[in-house]
């Protein structure tokens, strides 16, 4: 009698033994590994392989899977909105895999909570930041009333419900990738990056859910996301939910004039920077333009000067004195509101924090103080929070109703995410997002680029202040 087919988990892959010859070409992605003299497959193919074996009625011995059915009792009684139910049904209909796209504030986390309760499998939630890790930890604990594990940011504790950062998962999934039956990828547009994809590749989890506001990537790698997590199964746009499950909102663009002295310094620095680009024939409009510039700038003293000039002109347009005056006006105009002030860089954030004596939240803020700032903002002790990029994604601050973008990148995603921070529905809430743009600077074009999203449709736009 021949030995049974065996499947085992090894460092983010599956080792398969005793595969009948007839099956060797039919199982997805299996290859002979000369180094270990076994057949091997990427761990994420586990479900496909097992399905094939079952379909061919082939007996197998499975020592790869180290999880069993777990009962998760959902302690909070909340009813999902109709679109959340639709998303859940769509995910089930898609074979318990797939990507759900909903605008920020539309309750993606709640969908995940309901699906954890449905699937009844140990679950690993992947998130891009420590802040989101903490937020998921709190939410899971509240909803399921049981211990939740953390992996990343100094924590190394696995539980049936565990939250990890993508970065940590890439390093550790080869060791625990067989312990979870359900993998959730929050802000899953990050997943297809060169390294992060191995968090999904090294896991055998048969059930997978991707959550994002915008799955599209500028590099077009979203197809990789769909291979690893499942095809898009549900999507709702921001306009469809505005005023219903999201707050009504306005976007106000304010074109700001620079002070004369700053204008002179700006023009001088910009000229030096542009001259260097011209001299070195660097085209910043190409995908490699920025790397080309960095490389050239690092080679010579002249390049270093050009890089300093680049930083100087950028800093002047990001944080001109007039912009700071506008921040002051808007703070005064929105007395009693809950305001988030966004900047492109930490320096500007701290500059504003010091000038207006405000709490500043950046990746440099220690965890304890970071949580304290967020909690005090949520409970109203602090009415204003300044941040650079750490609040762009996911972190839940439903009380915020005013956003002021002092500076930002050209990324559509970043802009939509920032808008999303102030959109969570609250009774009678009218959200407003201000963008401060330095007139006649590179920022004008950056602003133009980031507005290419349906959230910026005409009905929500207010004419530019002159």
């Amino acid at each position: 009698m021949s030995s049974p087919l065996k499947i085992n988990f090894d460092k983010g892959t599956l080792i398969l033994q005793n595969i009948p010859e007839t099956l060797q070409t039919r199982l997805p992605d299996i290859r002979w590994d000369e180094r270990t003299l076994t057949f091997r497959a990427p761990a994420y193919r586990y479900r496909h392989i097992v399905s094939q074996l079952r379909a061919h009625d082939i007996a197998y011995q499975d020592t790869a899977r180290e999880f069993t059915v777990k009962s998760f009792t959902h302690e909070k009684t909340m009813s999902p909105y109709s679109y959340q139910t639709e998303a859940i049904d769509a995910w089930h209909a898609n074979g318990k895999r797939g990507v759900v796209s909903l605008p920020t504030g539309a309750g993606k986390t709640f969908i995940a909570i309901l699906l954890i309760a449905d699937t009844q499998r140990p679950t690993l939630v992947h998130v891009p930041t420590i802040d989101l890790m903490n937020q998921w930890y709190t939410v899971l604990k509240e909803h399921f009333g049981q211990e939740v594990g953390l992996y990343g940011g100094g924590y190394h504790e696995l539980k049936d419900l565990t939250v990890t950062t993508y970065q940590s998962a890439v390093m550790h999934a080869p060791y625990y990738g067989n312990r979870f039956g359900f993998a959730i990828f929050d802000e899953c547009h990050h997943l297809p990056s060169d390294q992060y994809q191995y968090a999904a590749i090294s896991s055998i989890a048969p059930f997978r859910l991707g959550l994002t506001a915008t799955p599209e990537r500028t590099d077009g790698k979203e197809s990789r996301l769909y291979t690893l997590v499942g095809e898009p199964c549900y999507e709702a746009k921001v306009q469809e939910l505005s005023g219903k499950t999201l707050s009504e909102y306005r976007v106000v663009t304010i074109a700001v004039e620079m002070e004369d002295t700053e204008r002179v310094r700006y023009e001088e620095a910009r000229r030096a920077y542009l001259n260097f680009l011209k001299q070195e024939r660097i085209n910043m409009g190409t995908p490699r333009g920025w790397h080309h510039f960095l490389w050239k700038a690092s080679q010579t003293d002249e390049g270093r000067t050009a890089f300093k000039a680049y930083l100087a002109q950028k800093q002047l347009s990001f944080a001109s004195t007039t912009k700071q005056e506008w921040v002051w006006k808007l703070i005064q105009r929105h007395r009693g509101d809950r305001i988030l002030i966004f900047t492109q860089d930490n320096d500007t954030a701290y500059q504003l924090g010091k000038r207006f004596f405000l709490p500043v939240l950046t990746h440099q803020t220690k965890l304890k103080e970071r949580n304290d700032f967020l909690n005090k903002f949520r409970d109203g002790t602090y009415s204003i929070l300044v941040t650079s990029k750490v609040l762009n994604e996911g972190v839940d601050v439903p009380e915020a109703n005013v956003g002021i973008i002092v500076s930002g990148s050209g990324s559509v995603r970043e802009h939509v995410q920032r808008l999303g921070r102030i959109l969570r529905k609250q009774e009678g809430k009218q959200a407003v997002l201000y963008e401060l743009i330095s007139k006649q600077t590179g920022e004008h074009y950056v602003n133009k680029r980031r507005r290419q999203h349906d959230a910026y449709q005409p009905s929500n736009r207010t004419p530019i202040f002159k």
Partner: protein
Amino acid sequence: MLTKDLLRYKTQNGQIHPQFVKPTDTTLLAIAEQLIAVFEESLDKPRATLLETSKHIIDSTPGAPIIKRGLEKLLLDRTEFDTTPNEELIAFRQKFFTETSRLLSQEQFENYADYAQAAYGLAGQCKMFGTMTEEPRSEAVPTEMEDLTAKLYEDLPSHQPILAFKTLSAEHLLHRYNTAQVQGVLLHSNSLTLKLADSMTAELRQLFKYLRFNQLLSTIRKEEELYQITVDGPLNLFYKTKRYGMNLANFFIAVLHQPRWELTAEVQFRNKQRYQLFLDESCGIKPIAQQFLAYIPEDIQLFQTMLRNKTDDWQIRPGSQFIPLPGDLYCFPDYQLVHKSGIETSIELFHPWHQGHLIARLSTLAEQRDVSLILGVSKELEKNPLIAEALAASAYFSQFGFTFRDVPTIRTLLPILNSLV
């Protein structure tokens, strides 16, 4: 290690050539010395002051800034900063921001100056800070109006003081720089192939320790007089992945200890063209890790003592040469044993993370009737049902294998050894 912007290399005809510095370059040695001195003298000073001083050296000395910034980065990697939170300042901020938030949301100000004045006033009123009124005034809590802006976020990384710096010689720093140039390139590689002469034993042992420590897989074959070792990770079978780039970069340190070596690797930065990296011992980089060639590891010492206590017939020493296996393969054992009669044998140990290796080894030795290798398997690994079954089914293991908990014991090993005599 060096970040990509600090790497120096040239590409030509599909080859990538890291640009090394001359470790004997007197100008560069002098600059390296200056930089090291700055780091040595910066204990207790804030990070910003250290960086300002080293920047001054970088800007005011001759030579390419990219090299000097690379040296600075390597020195920063050897520097420990005090990252302890400044609890007093954090507590101050909590209270102060509560007050400024109240001001901003409840009171109307004619202009910014009025608000700033009011906020300064609040910060200066220590009475509002509860228990702090009872305690002596601390340096960390700003009470002077002028200090407030400067001190409000004085615990940011740029203010962190330096706790320790692991110094080194200027020449050693330049060798480290050259090593880091190679490591920086290897970070973008998916595998490497190493050709080694079968000579030195302690160096080889160290190489294989690094290999295992970095969780890499290897295939060893003999090509004329050289051993060819292909090193990569499990997923390389499916993807041209740089997933193991960091492991390969770390592994390179052990390569430098070999007397004769050739290394080739395929390198790809982002989605650009692929390049071949070729290096050998003539690159002249001196080993940067401390080497304990004369040092006998503790586990071997313990094993030696235990064996001596039980029998005088066998002598044990660390693994020192490749063992040929069926199928034109080789392994590098952990221990080698010699009987007083001249009979020699070897032991290869399999720890919990060597599952794939063990399956491969059992498969390789399945048809073997003569002993070439004794297999020691961790009991932790044996807990895996697949492994337990494979061990039970292996005629070779039942004759020439044993299991161990933390370290092998002579009690389990001796019967096997005696059966060989």
